[in-house]
């Protein structure tokens, strides 16, 4: 077989796993002094092709469908199973690594091995190739599942933190006039919030508001920062730039008031709805600006406690809406 790095997981598993992990523990057995004629019904009813033979409590041999057919073909009188069984037994120990069992399947060409207890040599199970495959698949499934839980489910992130209060801060740097990248910060923030398991309606509102704010940075400024402060159930977004500032904020907040150049309008923006939209999406909204110095926008978003059946947040907390010309530092 060609070395393929993808099978290393299975290789690792066949060394780690033991015969006892995958064997069938409920073994149908026959006694050495049972009659050959009793086998027919037993094999048919249980849909099996071989049975371990016990003499008293000791494993004495194995009788297979092949042995039974041979006995039928010989047309001999009924006899005990002990007389027709394969006595020269290949067995496995339940502590044997699976890789050893696979080697034995290959070297002997046999279809099943009785498995014995390592201390007393008692029969504890039986191993077929089907058991090996099923065992490996189950283990793969469990490993995959655990990996998923441990690595790909950050939505439980907040639940795994033990603290009186938890705050995460994400910062995105936005370049001015870089229209190709415009929206990528909002997009990354949105994906991050989704992964953290933030409520979908909050994620959507934060996404829209931070996208509009990011467009403002791209259109009007030389660049700035979008900072999201995240706590369980709430997001605070701060968008800051260092100029040119908004001379008349009251006017800028009027729907339809715009100072955007034509190239922005061609993109479907600059119609004087950006700040209006941010305010509409948020639960609290403040903006402070000083011409020549810069603008600071703050908006917060809460997952409301109650929720109607449609998943829409109920009454928003919406209170503090502030507008000012000087940032409170």
């Amino acid at each position: 077989m060609k070395a393929d790095p993808r099978i290393t997981k299975t290789q690792e598993m066949v060394y780690e796993m033991r015969v006892g992990d995958v064997m069938s523990r409920e073994v149908i057995t026959v006694k050495a002094d049972d009659l050959m004629s009793s086998l027919r019904e037993l094999l048919r009813r249980n849909r099996i092709s071989g049975v371990p033979v016990l003499d008293e409590d000791r494993l004495a041999g194995l009788i297979s469908l092949e042995d039974f057919i041979k006995w039928l073909a010989d047309r001999e009188a009924d006899c005990t199973i002990g007389e027709r069984m394969t006595g020269n037994l290949v067995t496995l120990d339940e502590d044997d690594p699976l890789v050893l069992a696979i080697g034995k399947f290959e070297s002997t060409g046999l279809g099943r091995f009785p498995v014995t207890d390592s201390r007393q040599g008692r029969l504890v199970g039986i191993l077929t190739k089907g058991d090996v495959i099923e065992g490996l698949l189950k283990k793969l499934e469990i490993d995959y599942h655990q990996e998923e839980i441990h690595h790909y489910r950050p939505s439980d992130f907040f639940r795994h933190i033990e603290a009186e209060s938890t705050t995460l801060v994400f910062q995105y740097d936005v370049k001015g006039k870089d229209i190709k990248q415009a929206g990528s910060s909002a997009s990354r923030l949105k994906r991050t919030l989704k992964r953290l398991g933030m409520r979908p309606d909050v994620v959507r509102r934060v996404g829209i508001a931070s996208y509009e704010a990011e467009m403002n940075l791209v259109i009007f400024t030389e660049g700035g920062k979008v900072r999201a402060t995240v706590q369980p159930g709430r997001v605070f977004v701060e968008v800051e730039d260092s100029g040119p500032g908004i001379p008349d904020i009251e006017k800028a907040l009027q729907p339809g008031y715009s100072t955007a150049p034509d190239w922005v309008r061609e993109l479907g923006f600059g119609a004087g709805m950006g700040l209006v939209n941010i305010r509409k999406c948020s639960d609290t909204f403040d903006i402070y600006s000083e011409p020549g110095k810069g603008t600071l926008l703050r908006a917060s978003f809460f997952a409301s406690e109650e929720e109607d059946e449609t998943g829409r947040p109920g009454a928003r907390a919406g209170s503090g809406r502030g507008v000012g010309s000087r940032a409170p530092r």
Binding site: A186, S187, R204, Y211, L267, G268, F269
Partner: protein, 118 residues
């Protein structure tokens, strides 16, 4: 209505997206002003627009719309297409003018964004 039905009504070509019949469209909106889309659409709306730049896809992503259909035979840029592929936003292109596209969908029973709750 699912997106495959909408595609048929709009006589649209699929530029990005597959298994359209599995995508539900709850309402539609026709707009060239992205801020209006961000302000007034709800989740799972179909957006008909004459704009083809990449910001349309960004808007679609943020507003969580079901798909974007370009009207009047307009074709999006490579940049728009790759952003749509990256973000899983289906793109259609219809030869119909905006008014007719919207009208046909409305006649077929699709509601507007103000007529659908949440």
């Amino acid at each position: 209505m699912n997106l495959a039905e909408a595609q048929g009504i709009l006589e649209a070509e699929v530029i990005v997206g597959s298994h359209l019949e599995e995508i539900q469209v709850r309402m539609a909106c026709g707009a060239d002003l992205m801020s209006d889309v961000l302000a007034f659409t709800k989740k799972d709306a179909l957006l008909l627009t004459g704009l083809t730049n990449a910001q349309v896809v960004r808007t679609g992503e943020m507003a969580e719309i079901a798909a974007i259909c370009f009207v009047r035979g307009k074709r999006p840029s490579e940049e728009t297409i790759s952003l749509a592929e990256e973000n899983g936003v289906p793109l259609l292109a219809s030869p119909l003018p905006m008014f007719e596209g919207c009208g046909r969908l409305y006649r077929a029973g699709l509601r507007g964004c103000s007529e659908v709750d949440t």
